[in-house]
Every structure is written in C-alpha cells, then in structure tokens.
C-alpha cells in the first residue's frame, strides 16, 4: 500500500512538473514595475525625439482586438496576434520579416534601395529609398522643427495635447524585459470618444517607444497592442541589410509613387470636423469609373466595403454603419465616408455640417 502511495505521489509529481514546465516554457512572465527616477511628460517626449537607439533587433507583436470586420482580401486586419521580426542597423538600414504559416514577406532597406520579397509568388519588388533622411513633418504643432529644437517641440506638442487630454507619466513597467516609462494619454471628460486611454511605453535607457496600447471604453482588455515582445540592442550583422534576388525569382520595379500619402486620384481632399479625440474625417469616395457602372469605384486591391456594416439612415441620407471597438465609420450611399474614434452620433453631426 505504501509503495502504491509512493508511486501515486511520484506520478502526481511528474504530472505537476510537466504542467509547470509547459507553463514556464510558454507563458509570459509577469512584469514587475521597475524603480526609475521620475520624469515629466515634456522631458520624456523630448528625449524620445532626440533618441538615437542605435542598432537593435527584436520581435514586434501586434495583438489586434479592434473588432474590424473580416475582409475577404485583407484577412490580416481581423482580430488576432501577428508577429514580425525586425532588425535595424541604426543608420537607415533595416530588415523586417513578416512570417506566415507557409511563407514569409521580407522587407530590406540597404540604405539606397528598398527590397521587398514575397515567398508565395517569389517576386522581388525594388524601389529607391528616399534620399535625404525622413521627410520633415509639417503637422508638428507649434511649427517647431523637432530636429533643431526637440525640447520646444515636445513642450508645444504636450501643450497641444493637454487641450483635450490628460498627459501623465504613469509609473513604470517592464516591456520585453526592459524597464520602461509609461506615457498615458487620457481624454478629458468633455471629449466624446470611444477611447479610454492610450499608453506608450518608452524604454528608460534608450528612449525608444517599446509598446503602444490602446484601450477602449467598456473593455478591460486592450483593443490594440503593438510592441516589442523581445528586443536586443547591439551591433547587427551587416549582411542582414543587403539583399540579392535569389535565383528563379522575378524582379520588378515598384510603381513610381504619385502624390505619396495624398488622397487617391478622383477623391476630394478629406476634411476634418472637430478636434482632439472627437475629430471626424469626412471624405469623398473616388468617383465610379464610367466603364463600370454597376461596380462601386474602388482602387484595385482595396477591400470592398459595400457589403459591410449595418444599414443606417439619418438627416444626412442613407448609408452603412461600421462599428469597431475603437472607431466608427459611416459610408453614405452618395459616396461620403465619415470616420473617427467616436460614437455614431458624432459622425451623424459631422455629416450634417
């Protein structure tokens, strides 16, 4: 009997050890708040603007609970978790690998050329990297160039945000094994928005944003988390930042960018209604090409939105309402699109203007 008990205990021990081992092998470890010297939001943002994190590599995980409708030709936008492996040379060179279960997309920037390789159809697309560093950002509030006056830019940026939000550095946390400050933006109570909080974790040492978390009202779980799940700073193998098209692949040049970042041809410039968290973008859909009278006009490859959402009507006409946890959009039957991180009523008002 005692031998049987001993063996029973042994078996239980094996089972417990196995369960613990599986748990340790896969479960993320709970992060404790590391002690860090206090910092003001202005100083934190200024240090992020001036930061030179240098070469690093890591894994970026996107945890998407936005509740976007599943689009037939863009399934990657649906809820779920995605990972990307990134390498950065710290000097404009970089490599990104987007693995899927049976393939991979690879993006390599070697300083002069940006290469894109898709294993599914074995095609290489190459485009010249834009020379002269990143383009200046004219939309920085206050008109202060962050490259020449980072502290001033940070102060004016925070001051602008404070008109509509509470900006705080809310303690510290550990992200990807590194101590990080948490910059928290909370909308003021007067803001009519679906968002509850936006958190940016900034690495305490390198001042690199490590994680972005978006929390929506009415849910304890983040609607969107983008961030490093592991990161290592240090010199990288230079061969990572070169790309030679492998044998048996087709190489093509990327189409020349026309009006990069601008609206598609045929569309009017979108206008914004309101500011701060309840900003609504109202845009006009591109006109229907005359040779396709039955089809709603959409650029090739863009998802077909005509069958999504629920039908709604209002003083502005009739259309379809698409709701997600963080944003709402109305597509009217006369081709207007209104979208924002706001409830439906705010969109209705914006369309009525």
């Amino acid at each position: 009997m005692s031998s049987r008990k001993r063996w029973g205990a042994g078996l239980a021990g094996i089972v417990v050890a196995g369960a613990v081992a599986v748990g340790v092998a896969v479960a993320p470890t709970a992060a404790a708040a590391p002690p860090l010297p206090p910092v003001s939001p202005e100083a934190l943002v200024a240090s992020v603007i001036t930061a030179k994190p240098g070469p690093m590599n890591g894994t970026v995980t996107v945890d998407n609970e936005l509740g976007l409708p599943a689009l037939p030709n863009a399934p990657q936008l649906g809820n779920g978790t995605q990972t990307a492996r990134v390498w950065s040379g710290g000097d404009g060179k970089g490599r990104v690998a987007l693995p899927s279960s049976d393939g991979e997309r690879t993006l390599v920037s070697d300083g002069t050329t940006r290469w894109s390789y898709d294993s599914a159809d074995r095609t290489v697309t190459k485009a010249p990297a834009n020379a002269g560093g990143p383009p200046s950002r004219p939309d920085v509030p206050g008109g202060v160039d962050p490259r020449t006056d980072p502290a001033g830019a940070a102060t004016s940026m925070i001051a602008d945000l404070r008109k509509t939000s509470t900006v705080t550095v809310d303690g510290t946390e550990e992200v990807a094994g590194r101590a990080a400050y948490q910059l928290v933006l909370t909308p003021l109570p007067t803001e009519r928005t679906l968002l509850r909080e936006v958190r940016v974790s900034v690495d305490a040492e390198k001042r690199l944003p490590l994680q972005l978390t978006v929390l929506a009202t009415g849910s304890a779980q983040p609607a969107l988390t983008i961030g490093f799940s592991d990161i290592t700073f240090g010199p990288q193998d230079p061969s990572l930042f070169t790309f030679t098209p492998p044998p048996g692949t087709t190489v093509k040049d990327a189409p020349a960018p026309d009006g990069r970042g601008g609206p598609p041809t045929g569309a009017q410039a979108p206008k914004t209604v309101g500011d701060g968290w309840d900003r609504v973008v109202v845009a006009q859909k591109p006109a229907t090409p005359p040779n396709q009278p039955g089809q709603p006009g959409r650029p090739a490859g863009a998802p077909d939105l005509s069958s999504l959402g629920t039908p709604v009507s209002g003083p502005w006409g009739q259309g379809r309402l698409i709701t997600t946890t963080v944003a709402t959009a109305i597509i009217t039957n006369d081709g207007r699109i209104a979208a924002g991180a706001v409830p439906e009523q705010v969109l209705t008002e914006a369309l009525g203007r």
């Binding site: 599986v22 279960s101 049976d102 690879t106 159809d121 290489v124 692949t249």
Partner: protein, 287 residues
C-alpha cells in the same frame, strides 16, 4: 519469435551487461516486422510523390500559389523539409505509435510479455529496451523521409543552382542547407519521441495494440480539432500539435529558434510524462 525469447532467456541468465544483447534482440525483433518495413516504404513514397508531382506539373507556374509544397519547385533542398512536415501530421506518428503499440500491448496480446516479466531482467531495463525499439523506429523513419527527400529533391526537382532559397529570399550553400535539413530531422525525431512515449504509456495500460494506435492517432486528430476552436486558445500551449508548424522555421533566414526550442521543450515534457507512466505501470505489472 521463439528464437527471440530464447535469446532473451540466455541474456537474462548473465549477471553482467546483457543490455547490449537485449537491445540487439529487441531491434532485430522490431525491424524484422513486415508492418515496420511497410510503413518505411510508405514514408519513402511521400517525398518521391511530391517530387514527381512538382516535376510533372511544375514549370511556368513554379512557385506560384500558396502552400509550402509550391516552394519545392526549382528548389530541391526544400523537399525533405516539406516531406517531413507533411508526414509529421499522420504518417510518422503512425510508424512510432505502431512500434509503441507492439512493444508492450502487442507482446501482452500474444502472451510473450509474461516471459519477459518473469525473466530476471530489471523492469527499468525492460522499459529502456522497449523505448530503444521505439526510438530506433522514430530515427529510421525520419532518416528515410529526409534521405529519400534529399535524393529526390536533387535528382528529380533539381536545386536552384545548388543552393537552398529560403522563405526570406536569401540563398544558403549546400553545407548550410544540409545543416538545416539535419536540424529539422533532429527536431522531428524529438516530436516523434513525445508521441512514442505516450504510445508506450498507453501500451502499458491495455492488452490490445489497436487501442494504442486508435488513442494516439485519435488523440492527434482531437488535438488538431481543439487547436482550431478559437475559444480554446488558452489550451494551445499544452497541445503537442501546436508546435508542429515550427519545422517550417528552418526555411527562414536568419533562423528563428524560439519556435523550435519551445516545441522541443513541450515534446520533452510529453516524453517525461509518457516514460513516467510507463515505468510506473511496468514496475507494478505482474503479467
């Protein structure tokens, strides 16, 4: 069979180091079974079938379309990796599970287990001997797929100028390509050992080898169903099949090791659990 029992009997009367002879007898016994050889033959057909399919339908559409099999076109070194990945879903587990089923339940069904238990061979030694038979089948099965895959990939499909084109668009030389194939083969053996250990454990609980086969293959299918249910996502880290896709990682460059390591750790846990149950049952078994 009688010669085997006689061999074991002679070996057991010795007091020193009969383990080598025990193992040799067990391996002869396992590898002489026609069903083992038939499964090896079936496994060899997997890469050959893929190679012929690619060679006859490949050409202008080479590399088009989804799926890993399309990656084989014009890229022969991928063939063993793809063949191992495809066989790991059912055919390789079948080979290991049938070896585990025959090892104990099969001997119990034919009545030869009694002789083994009566013989003055330690129970631990008996389990080691039986486990060695299962390990041998797992290693040989993987080797058959990998080696036939490499030959078929080189001869029928042909390499991309003697290199392996990874999913990341880089090219690996012959040496590194063979290293990657060896890595995925070793990893596959690790996953199969987990299945073999569970098969041995079930084998000690029944006298019908078919029950073992049904439990192991049925269990793999149930695991596959469970992992497809979104609300049971929390269960995924516990399922052995969750890590089965990690073999594809050897085709990426730079090689990501976390998937391979975590699935190997998971397999080790299954090995420990399976061998623990096997030992626990065999220590107390009297017939």
């Amino acid at each position: 069979m009688s010669t085997t029992v006689a061999t074991r009997g002679r070996a057991a009367t010795r007091t020193a180091a009969p383990l080598g002879r025990l193992l040799a007898a067990e391996l002869r016994w396992v590898l002489r079974r026609p069903r083992t050889l038939v499964v090896f033959g079936l496994l060899a057909l997997v890469p050959i079938a893929i190679a012929i399919g690619i060679a006859t339908t490949g050409g202008p559409s080479a590399g088009r379309g989804p799926g890993l099999v399309a990656q084989v076109a014009g890229n022969g070194f991928v063939l063993p990796v793809v063949a191992l990945g495809l066989s790991l879903t059912l055919l390789l587990p079948l080979a290991v599970a049938s070896a585990g089923a025959d090892a104990i339940a099969g001997e119990a069904a034919t009545g030869t287990l009694r002789g083994l238990l009566i013989a003055p061979v330690g129970r631990l030694r008996l389990v080691v001997m039986k486990a060695a038979g299962v390990v041998t089948v797992a290693v040989l099965a993987v080797l058959v797929v990998a080696v036939v895959g490499m030959i078929a990939g080189t001869v029928v499909v042909g390499g991309a100028q003697g290199t392996l084109v990874t999913l990341s668009g880089t090219t690996l030389g012959v040496g590194e390509a063979i290293g990657r194939i060896a890595l995925v083969a070793a990893w596959t053996v690790g996953q199969l050992l987990a299945i073999g250990a569970v098969a041995l454990a079930i084998s000690t609980l029944t006298e019908h080898p078919l029950v073992v086969l049904a439990c192991v293959l049925g269990g793999l299918i149930v695991f596959g169903v469970l992992s497809a249910i979104p609300s049971l996502e929390w269960l995924q880290p516990l399922l052995l099949t969750t890590g089965f896709t990690a073999g594809t990682d050897v085709l990426r460059d730079p090689l990501p090791l976390d998937g391979l390591v975590s699935s190997t750790v998971r397999a080790l846990v299954y090995v420990v659990l399976g061998l623990g149950v096997t030992l626990w049952r065999m220590r107390r078994r009297d017939a």
